[in-house]
Amino acid sequence: MATKNNNVPEHPMERLLRMDRIPHIWCPTCGIGTAVSCFISAIDKFKHPHEKIAVVSGIGCTGRVAGYIKLDSFHTTHGRAIPFATGLKLANPDLKVVVFSGDGDLISIGGNHFIHAARRNTDITVVCVNNFIYAMTGGQCAPTTPLTANSSTTPYGNHERPFNLPLLASSCGAVYVARWTSLHIRRLTNSMHEALNKPGFSFVEVVAPCSTLYARRNRLGTGLDLLKFYHDSSEICHGADPTELDIAFQDKIKVGKFIDRERPTFIDAWNDNMKKKFGDKFDPYGEKKAKKAA
């Protein structure tokens, strides 16, 4: 027997969702929706006018996020979320630009952009939902698939060493690096909030269940079973050495805030350099310009 919606008032997150597109396409027990809930809560806490926040996604399951969030948002081509976001930020430095995409899009197809944006300390926040597989295209092996895990292109188990994302981000120069699972809702929300407030390249990895491909191919049950696994196997290690954050197949997941440091952002470094060269003749670009006018 089907039941109709009882007269439920508006869900508080509807303010920041494009409700004409909801329900979203994500499978039952997928973790991306929870990551979006945490992001919306972080945006609520973040004291920044909503019209000055932009969300950019690439392609993939997580790449759909930009299409569901009711902020200025853009769904770019595969892997190109970070270059698009860099352009947005440089052309309009008042914007807070967030890249919300998946492991395949950001680290494989867009891997080159990721390392260079971190190296330059471009002032953007990158949220990477890591489900260990290329989900939208049929469960191929991704650069994050743990060793020995099954995927549609590694039916005998993966033999390629995966990336350790916090190590990759921190060694390239990110100023804020954290990892949580989609079960750590409050800590994840706080980390996203801290990352939004951090000037420079901030990176938050969200380990999330993919029930339809990763869990099914590896016989791990549903997304709910994976949440129970995260509950039992994640260990909070704030400030841990990023070289020790590899994730092995169904092994301990170290989570926490690993890096929080200061480095001049891309625009600040440009301004400082030009200032040295041209002194007062140089009109600083970006936020500093706004401050000067005030």
Partner: protein
């Protein structure tokens, strides 16, 4: 709530009660809210929603402490809780 003695900060601490709202037809029956509710307020109902999933149902609605865990964990934006009232702690 039952205590063996009146807590020293009983005048300051209030126990919140939540009112649970479930958007049944948006639910995909994942069971996250049911599994992680600390007060075991929810169960998946026997009924189907229009998409053929079993949405949760609040069987112990009075026990809800407005922690909003279900609201944050739900990947479908299908359940949320508003503050109904707060109860003083009595010994």
């Amino acid at each position: 709530m039952q205590f063996w003695r009146k807590p020293l900060d009983a005048d300051k601490i209030k126990v919140p009660h939540g009112e649970i709202h479930i958007v049944r037809d948006r639910c995909k029956g994942c069971g996250f809210c049911v599994e992680y509710c600390p007060k075991d307020v929810l169960v998946l109902s026997e009924e189907f929603n229009t998409k053929g999933y079993h949405p949760p149902e609040a069987v112990k609605a009075d026990d809800c402490v407005h922690c909003q865990l279900c609201e944050m964990l739900c990947p479908e934006f299908a359940i949320f809780v508003t503050l109904k009232d707060e109860e003083s702690v009595e010994a």
